[in-house]
Symmetry: C2
Subunit: 379 residues, 2 copies
């Protein structure tokens, strides 16, 4: 369909950075956690190359924080996730599936241990606050569930570290991957983590004061002028090339983390007090009915309107996200593939599109472009 307009209202919440984003030439948004999330500035392709070569500042305020505070905060986090959080360090960020008692995916936040009695869940697009509040109310847990005024800003790209050093000092070098430090800007401390929704490197700043956040935003652009700093946002091509899954696009509550390739975040044999471990252990023993895989069609450089993955002439799964690669000469997709079809395919599938049928590869995620290399050339 032609690209429609978005009607912006109070319900599609703006952020402290919306006026700067507009001045920066945002072309399109999505709505994520009831909030505006930019999706395109120049074009998705131009944004991609800029991200991979320079440094971008992203308004990812839509990554809302759900704060769990109280004596039972860690217990509630553990109830919600099959990942063992007992070893969480004081400065650690944990990627974690949240699942219900059927093992269904509710969300896949980054959990941040802010204090012994306080966790933040930096969430994907579903109302985790309501899930956590419902559980806390029903179980009479000693925990307060809120959405604090925190608007994350991401600084992403190969020059991110250089830019962050200029603004926060050399201490940013000491922040390890998926760890955070409390750094001051204008005398005001904020959590700064080495993380972000790209594989180009960078940081996320958990801005908790709107006015200081705006000053920080402007300072990043002043300090980064000679680094070719630019506006940006999570990029639809980069995230697929990098194998980053998106809740609602690639994962939903009809699926378990075992179907999403998140096995390593499911600790099923540690006796955790977690709602989902029994159901997940059962599914692990029985085998998953379907699983997210990567699909590659070398040489297909026009994005198809529709794409069906076939094995032996039969529909073998459902494409959940796809793009024409910017870096490689081909088309990349994530697809929820029937387990039996994965076995039958032995790596070879057919992709049916309105442009015709194409031979494709079916591979594990994330894509291993070195292994695929022979058939998928750099552009």
């Amino acid at each position: 369909m032609p690209i429609p307009q978005l009607s912006v209202s109070r319900r599609t919440r703006s952020t402290p950075f919306t006026s700067r984003i507009a001045a920066g030439g945002v072309k399109a948004y999505t709505v994520y956690n009831h909030m505006l999330l930019p999706t395109v500035f120049r074009s998705v392709q131009e944004d991609y190359w800029h991200l991979c070569q320079h440094v971008q500042v992203w308004d990812v305020s839509a990554e809302r924080q759900v704060q769990l505070k109280g004596r039972d905060a860690a217990r509630l986090v553990q109830l919600m996730t099959p990942r063992d959080i007992s070893s969480a360090q004081d400065d650690q960020c944990f990627y974690m599936p949240l699942c219900d008692e059927n093992g269904s995916m509710i969300n896949d936040p980054i959990g941040i241990k802010v204090a012994d009695d306080t966790w933040w869940l930096s969430i994907a697009d579903s109302d985790v606050k309501l899930w956590a509040k419902g559980l806390a109310t029903g179980l009479r847990l000693d925990v307060e569930v809120t959405e604090p005024d925190v608007w994350p800003v991401a600084v992403q790209g190969p020059k991110a570290e250089a830019l962050m050093q200029r603004v926060f000092g050399d201490i940013v070098n000491d922040i390890r991957f998926f760890r955070y430090k409390r750094l001051a800007f204008m005398g005001h401390e904020m959590l700064v983590a080495r993380s972000g929704w790209s594989k180009q490197g960078g940081f996320e700043i958990y801005v908790n004061d709107a006015a200081i956040g705006q000053a920080l935003w402007d300072e990043l652009f002043v300090q980064g002028a000679d680094l070719n700093v630019g506006h940006g946002c999570p990029n639809g091509i980069e995230r697929i090339e990098s194998g980053l899954l998106s809740l609602g696009n690639d994962m939903d509550d009809s699926m378990t983390p075992l179907q999403c390739g998140l096995d390593k975040y499911c600790h099923l044999d540690r006796g955790l007090e977690s709602l989902s471990v029994a159901a997940l252990a059962k599914q692990k023993a029985e085998g998953v009915p379907s699983r997210l895989m990567g699909i590659v069609v070398p040489g297909m450089t026009q994005p198809p309107q529709t794409a069906h993955v076939l094995v032996d002439g039969l529909l073998a799964g459902e494409v959940t996200s796809h793009c024409v690669s910017a870096r490689y000469d081909g088309w990349l997709a994530f697809a929820l593939m029937d387990s039996s079809a994965i076995r039958t395919a032995q790596g070879a599938v057919s992709v049916h599109t309105e442009q015709g049928d194409f031979d494709g590869l079916c591979v594990e995620l994330p894509f291993d472009f070195n292994a695929i290399g022979d058939s998928l050339r750099l552009r």
Copy 2:
């Protein structure tokens, strides 16, 4: 800001009617319950007059159903709402605030008693499924919480009854306001209620089969050709003139239903087993700190970029929704007004805009245009 584009993805779910909506010339969407909801076809003004004079077919699939099924279904509904549902008839639709133990607004669905052990909550824009599931899990209730494949279609406008008669027969005349019947189309029964998010009259059809729904959609347009049937959607002007509140715009979880003028849906002295009645009874006794009111500026016919409501020169509240009326010669707004300012104002406020300052009225909602009539002329 200039009107941005909406990036449509699998996460911003399409509906069985999206292709028909696109063919019908949709200009803009919002995202509501993670789903596309049309907002404009011709222009908001043209859509308004067409709605008020003819009949429109709306894709309101984004009014998702949360189904509660099991022995404890009604108990869970009652826990979630301060409205007494004990007298619910088998064919009844109940508008109901959903509130947590603080009395905070979680959602304001229409609750539909589908069977003794089955309720549907036809929700506004928040993940009630997670709230209900969390409570059910924590309290170990015997209830299954799901989002069934139901995509409501609304038929709204003064000719709605005539059109519905042609498609479903004279039996539609017998459906009372906020009641439903099970009516067949192509031999397939669906719930049909006399309801809808306008005050122009009409019905909502709870389509539960995508293919039959598409055939029904097309039949409504065939049968309605001489009635000037058209595409439409909840209309930003009509809903404000009619005093219809919108969750996320006018109400959120920083407010209680008593602040939203929903007192008559709060049964606080019946000993209900409801999470929120204690907090609401306390607030009722103490008085609300602020309350949604209507603001009217006769003669202001250009929509302001910013509008602040002042009483005695001081900021007296926050505008939550506003429009230039299509029918009356003036500007209409909802505003969350400080209770003390309401008392001081005695009906007279000042509205500060970038166009200048205007004298305005502060009135109870819904607007009583007969009472306001002297100062607000029909166009």
